[in-house]
Symmetry: C2
Subunit: 205 residues, 2 copies
DNA sequence: GTCTATAAAGAGATAGAC
DNA sequence: GTCTATCTCTTTATAGAC
């Protein structure tokens, strides 16, 4: 992962030493997540890549552009969940389940960029645009919860907005501790979240 | 919960224009939360306070010290929850409920410093010490959940560690959207969290 | 307790050689 | 595609006047 660039066995195009944008982006996002975007200097990034700053600037225009590309990946994935067929028809509670499951899957598949997204504070235009898109996603889910309440499948003693935020509080918190390669995969993780979110942790007895 | 601010039990407040440590700390933590600790320069902080940097350095030794004092407040509060009588005896499920309720109350009472705590990444000794104390808190709660599972009051198809993390994922996410002065207070908020955590969002039907 | 002024280091970004 | 060297601005922090 953080290993040296390919030398001889180039996959497809380049047979040259050095990085391409994709490799640089992957390591960059990892470092952003370790230290925080603001606390990561371009010099530190270049060090981690085994490059100089100037070489890094050959691949990207700015530090902020690196952030923007990573955030686009995360947001694209999440927004795609809402476009999935399972989220488009049927009882609202089932669609909600599909959205939560899809969100967990995206989170696991794009863990680094989603982690970065969830830590964005709005310090620049790029960050504020990302926050806007997060809010829009949230509102779509809240509408789904409200519909499920109307259909009688979700409790109404807690508001739809709060329900949505609590559920995504659980989902989003996964980035704080979930690491791939362990016992649980995306499917098990989603099942756990849905079990707790839908039925709670208390036993019937 | 939080320790006494025994900076000076001394006489004579400064009846002078200007700030004392407490006022500076409050505004500082607020700005740290708005922009992020790393993205906040001491100059920006001083501007917000209507002071110069030099005046601010008269009150505090370093930017990091300001962070440390704020984190101590949040951690002291959370750790106090575990020392509360309601968390010390009785069925584990009841103690767990008391801990969650207490955590929400501390979060609401000390919203700025808890928010700051939850965003710490471990970039310095101060931050790493805070992360260690968070982990210790987490382990205490996980033990409580495990006990509740043994007592048959919490589902066992999800591990105690995951249950704990999901519940505190909900609790901690409150800092992302809860703002005092609205319709809900700490008690209602805690009730909502416990309702969802214990029984889930799905209606029986 | 606050100010102006400045030190010393680090930040993001660029120029031009190879 | 990467390098060395450098520009310019900002950063944390300090010195010393009032």
């Amino acid at each position: 992962m953080a290993d040296a660039p390919d030398t001889e066995s180039a996959p497809a195009r380049r047979g040259r030493p050095g990085y391409d944008r994709e490799q640089i982006l992957a390591i960059t996002v990892q470092v952003f997540n370790e230290q925080g975007y603001d606390a990561t200097s371009v010099a530190a990034l270049a060090d981690r890549l085994g490059l100089t700053k100037a070489a890094l600037y050959h691949h990207f225009d700015s530090k902020e552009q690196l952030l923007g590309v990573a955030l686009e990946r995360a947001l694209g994935g999440l927004e795609g969940v809402l476009r999935h067929p399972d989220a488009a028809a049927g009882p609202a509670i089932d669609r909600l389940e599909a959205v939560v499951r899809g969100a967990v899957e995206v989170l696991v598949a794009e863990l680094p960029s989603v982690t970065l997204l969830l830590r964005v504070r709005g310090n620049s235009a790029v960050e504020r645009a990302a926050l806007d898109r997060r809010r829009a996603f949230d509102q779509r889910v809240t509408a789904l919860v409200r519909q499920a309440q109307r259909e009688g499948s979700v409790r109404t003693d807690v508001s739809a907005a709060v329900v949505t935020r609590l559920i995504f509080g659980m989902v989003n918190s996964l980035v704080e501790w979930y690491r791939p390669g362990g016992a649980e995969g995306a499917a098990e993780l989603a099942a756990d979240v849905l079990a707790v979110a839908l039925d709670g942790i208390r036993t019937a007895g």
